[in-house]
Symmetry: C2
Subunit: 227 residues, 2 copies
């Protein structure tokens, strides 16, 4: 059932008698559990994280854990869902911007980098995406979810004349998502993301000369300032 | 002690009386254990892999496991060491090539992609590099080990006039290592590496126009054929 407080599918509204205060408490507990799960996934990976450690970190009882999440898979899904919400919010923010589409593309990647550094759930979702999925699990859709909106912004930048029309938006967006993933992963392994923003700036230094349309090279310095 | 058969540090030569046949058996067992560990790391990640499952997969006794590897960390290190050997062999192969440095750069990335698809130990080393290191472990040096030789090839390509002299070889090599990591990770998550070579080709389609020196664009089609 769609929870009126958390605006997510949540078992806290199963009882019609549940009052709003009770629902709010349930939502707070649920959020604490999701954040604790994120922290444990980052530290130990999906396979190494344990439900007991997540409960302890969240200060949640066994009963509360079982009420909200019956498995580690459901916790991972909640982390990924929350990252998608954050991602959608990010895109909404830029949708109303009057920047050029190319500036939006670069600024969105920058904002996503900031998000990874500031939000434990966003970072955990990225760590889950690069981890080895068990058995038949398919994390491919996670990458597609990032690539599709990126492709739309690139098409817009081509229409505005800033990006070469020889570029296939789907190819570039698929590569950008993979490159961001790799830069973030290498930065995490080397410096726990301390150098992430510098590495993303370097990424654009390498990419922009090959992406920007001939005759539009003068926009590069301004765009790089956003990277 | 340096093992005369495996040419690695190995306890099989601790006894001066050990004959060559016995050493060869020990090396075969050691290699079987490293391959089994690689397969388990790929399937379950470092945190999720268990020494017992690795022993069972390798058909090794508890005694043999303890003789060769006293911890999972040592198994991970053996996998990473083996990947470095394979990487060095790859670089030696290209060092004697008469291709241009730019063609070598692109061909080396292609060969590394092939290696990930063909060699379970090489793939496992990459999976370990993107996984979350526990506690104080630092996987940064793994990325540096890939970036340093790549940087040398890029410097060579700049000297040969194929790559723009505005490019900082260290910046490009650091980005290439990260981008390869990301492309490989996304391809693994989506298709278990089935589309890896297509995705690497796309990577070069995006990168080459921004890397190749003005006036040298005519080399791009030939270079792309190697990607």
């Amino acid at each position: 059932m769609l929870c009126p407080v958390a605006r997510v599918y949540c078992r806290c509204t199963d009882s019609r008698e549940g009052d709003v205060a009770q629902q709010a408490r349930a939502v707070a507990t649920r959020n604490a559990i999701v954040e604790a799960a994120a922290a444990e996934f980052i530290e130990h990976g999906f396979a190494g994280a344990s439900i007991a450690d997540i409960a302890q970190r969240a200060g949640a009882t066994k009963g509360a854990m079982y009420f909200h999440f019956r498995s580690k898979e459901l916790l991972a899904q909640a982390v990924i869902d929350r990252q998608r919400e954050l991602n959608d919010e990010l895109q909404d923010k830029f949708a109303s911007s009057d920047l050029s589409a190319l500036a939006i593309l670069v600024s969105m990647v920058h904002a996503l980098g900031d998000l990874m550094r500031d939000d434990v759930v966003a970072l955990a979702a990225m760590r889950l995406a690069v981890e080895v999925p068990e058995g038949g699990d398919d994390r491919g859709p996670t990458y597609d979810a990032w690539a599709a909106p990126t492709s739309a912004v690139i098409s817009h930048a081509i229409a505005q004349g800033d990006v070469r029309d020889t570029i296939d938006p789907e190819v570039l967006s698929r590569f950008l998502v993979a490159a961001f993933t790799g830069v973030q992963t290498a930065s995490f392994a080397s410096t726990r993301l301390e150098d992430l923003m510098d590495r993303l700036h370097e990424m654009w230094t390498v990419l922009l000369p090959g992406i920007v349309a001939p005759g539009r090279e003068h926009v590069i310095p301004d765009i790089l300032q956003r990277a």
